[in-house]
Point group: C2
Amino acid sequence: MQNQQVLTKNQKIVLDIIEKSSQPLKAYSILFDVKKKGINAPLQVYRALDKLVEIGKIHKIESRNAFIACKNSKCQITKATVFSICENCEDVKEIHDHKLSEHLKHYKDNKGMKYSKYNLEFFGLCKKCIKN
Amino acid sequence: MQNQQVLTKNQKIVLDIIEKSSQPLKAYSILFDVKKKGINAPLQVYRALDKLVEIGKIHKIESRNAFIACKNSKCQITKATVFSICENCEDVKEIHDHKLSEHLKHYKDNKGMKYSKYNLEFFGLCKKCIKN
DNA sequence: TAATTTTTGTTATAATATAACACTATGTAA
DNA sequence: TTACATAGTGTTATATTATAACAAAAATTA
């Protein structure tokens, strides 16, 4: 039910900007965009981002320090994310691959660790960039 | 052969510090440690780190902005890394799992992307931290 | 209502990372 | 061995990413 949580004003503003972007946005670029809406300080943005990540509305692309909306509206999958990143044009897409997810979800090492989360980032060249 | 590359003075100093640590080190903590060896500025550390990552001697833990030595001396596996991270004690280990690597190496999406690299980070609780 | 928790706004600052420039060392090849 | 290219160095300055601390306001709960 966490996903149906009511968002606060700042959270809505920030989420809105991120959802409108097809590509990941950086915190300070979000800040720039929301200044006209009364959000003035980095912390206001970071606090909203933290919350949105926590409830699974957005994901952080760790290798890029950027945030992207989760398209998968049905469930919160903060805990299991896979992205594909073009190293040329920086296009980022979230990957939903059931077989891959299952594989990763059930992964067990021999160290007795209990995993609750993973993040996988694939890097390469997208179709467009291969051609050019 | 890239891995047999001769390292420069700064690269050796930085690598040495990282190899002596069982846990990932942050750039500025490395800087602090190497000041007595004549490295004074962040850039000197970052340049060494960049090179060491490039040749596969160390890896960056993206979610932690920290660097860890690659124990796998035989090959440069900059391009395919898997880590397990304890969210309580922050213990980090590199995972070498042939089956998992094969699975990821051969992963193909339906977008026509050509992948050359991936990074996977598992999060959870290690044996010790589960008990406590 | 009062108490508690969460969110806000704000200022300041910490932590992470790179730009730009002049110089030095090393490798390559004529 | 001289010239040229390439990679690494040292340095100062600055950009980028992120959090601490505190007081006040709003929402929630008892």
